[in-house]
């Protein structure tokens, strides 16, 4: 089976046909007219920005439940709504992350298990626990965890490329690890923001449990990064392959 970086028949580079590439460049030069006016494109785009539309809005919290209700009275209106928006994004990301790890596990297993599959399964479980943590936080704040919040919508768009790489059977385990590393780094960054957000609103218990999730995510970044580098260095022949 060929490996993606084996020297083969990639036809995309101009250097493959220097004469034809030169002719194409000359043709483009001969055909060009006028000097570049990037303002035209910006002018076309301006009215859409001026409309000031947004992707969508938040659903209002439905209830303030239990002990969290009294504590949450400090959070009113927009700040609670925005916090729920961020939590919605985290929940969506973690749920998708669970499915990404399922995809990675399937691929890694077929690849002959050079990766420790039990570690991938463990990370999968942690992502699921994080999803449930956020789910509970949303419910305790009186939110609806099934709402697709505006930031969850953004999260979904951001994640589409990552998912596509992992789902593609032609993308190697290394390429899939690269993709999931993008997700993990983003995830850790967002958990960090959530910890600070919870603390700034006086929600110390929530901040503590978010801090634990952040610590887990930071470990995920290190682990996945290690797995990825091992495979990359193995291909570079830079040092012997070492698997944790």
């Amino acid at each position: 089976m060929s490996r993606p970086s084996d020297l083969g028949v990639n036809r995309t580079g101009a250097g493959l046909s220097p004469i034809d590439a030169g002719r194409t460049a000359q043709g483009a030069q001969d055909g060009a007219s006028g000097s570049p006016d990037l303002g035209l494109a910006d002018e076309l785009r301006r009215p859409y920005l001026e409309e000031g539309r947004v992707l969508g809005s938040m659903a209002p919290p439905t209830t303030l439940k239990g002990a969290a209700g009294a504590a949450m009275k400090r959070l009113q209106g927009e700040s609670l709504g925005f916090f729920l928006d961020l939590l919605g994004a985290r929940l969506a990301f973690e749920r998708t992350g669970v499915r990404l790890y399922e995809g990675l596990l399937r691929k890694a297993k077929f690849d002959g298990a050079k990766l420790p599959l039990d570690r991938l399964a463990h990370i999968h479980d942690e992502e699921l626990r994080h999803a449930h943590l956020v789910h509970k936080a949303i419910v305790d704040l009186g939110g609806d965890p099934t709402v697709l919040t505006p930031n969850a919508d953004v999260s979904a768009v951001l994640g589409m490329g990552i998912a596509k790489v992992i789902q593609d059977p032609r993308a190697t385990v290394a390429q899939s690890l690269d993709a999931i590393l993008v997700a993990e780094r983003a995830d850790a960054g967002c958990w960090d923001v959530l910890v600070e957000a919870a603390r700034s609103m006086g929600q110390d218990d929530l901040a503590s449990s978010f801090a634990e999730a952040l610590a887990n995510e930071e470990r995920h970044v290190v682990e996945i990064d290690t797995f990825y580098r091992e495979l990359i260095y193995a291909q570079l022949g830079a040092r012997p392959q070492k698997v944790h």
């Binding site: 409309e51 947004v54 969508g56 998708t96 596990l105 599959l117 991938l120």
Partner: protein, 401 residues
Amino acid sequence: MALDIMGNRGVPIEKQEFDWRDLARAPYSKLDDDAFTRVRVILMNGIESEALRFGHACARMNKELQLPLARIRRIEQHQQTLVNWLNPPDQSPLDTTIGFEQVAIEVTAAVAQQEPDPYLAQVYRFGLLEDFDHMQRFSALMDRVEGKDPNALLQNYTDIRPGRPTVIEHRAPEDDLRNPYDRRTAHPLTRLNALVIMAGEHQTHDYYMTIGPMFADPLARQLYAEIASIEEQHVTQYESIIDPTETWLEKWLLHEACEVYMYHSCMEQETNPRLKEIWARFLDYELGQLHFVRELFQRIEGRDPAQILPATLPDPVPFKSQRDFVRKVLAAEVDLRARGTQFVPKEQDSPASIAYRNRLNSAGSPSEAVAAGYRWAPGTELAPGSPNLQTIEEDVHEQAK
């Protein structure tokens, strides 16, 4: 409110104009707009797509109509752009697929209930349960591969549960053709219903054919291949219920009347004021086009359009949840099969269709694989308390051994 289509001449076609800013408007919101706004946009894109499809087919066979067809088609094409471009870019192809199936379920169910011909009402109910099952399969794909909740798009209007299983929907071509209505006696609503549903299914087929290869997951690619094949069957079915002896001009007139009917239905029920204005504008355009074609019909065929068209349109197609009706049909008719032009109990299924489907399914069934044991739960299968959660966790650890 009934629309007087003979008296109301709309906007003359010479005044039906656009510019690019007009055509590429801000889309609706995937989050804030009602699911039936999405349903209307998808449906009307399908209606306009059919206008173009018919217009080109007619032009290939009628030299003397090529110029008037080209004039009307140019306007319809721009209308289609304006409508289709209302879909937002944060709505992924799979999101839009869920929207397509919601159109198929809710609009076919509405049409089935308003269809005066009992045989044709059965045809719609038959197709309905198949599109209903497609929703289950695509929902499982969205949940299990992407971790997303299809109900965020369906907004609680439409059930997510198995219908007539996609795996047994595959039929030999001879079992997809139905009996057509008779153009001399058919109720106007019968003719309009057939055009609406045929247009919807043809667009759905073309959409799945376009996006299927964009998926990286082989299961998704196979699933789209499978369901696109069924949609072609549905187009065959719905096309066959239309009297093929209608003249080209008769068909053109009916197409324009259908477009008037549908824009009117959309306008009456639209909750987004911006889109309501678009439906109202295009209703006026279609009335103008209808009168243009009426005059051609009178001049070329020497017939009175009132022979074909009602003076006033039927009540608008309702855009609302048809959940109760769908459940009743599901309970009573899920085990029906098709044999020739008739519907039969599954024990009498067509041998030709059985052989055909066995061949197609011989390397496995993507629709079965994607949704094995799938039960929709709020917030996906991964939500706390979801019935499938434990199985998922066990499977993952089994994989890791």
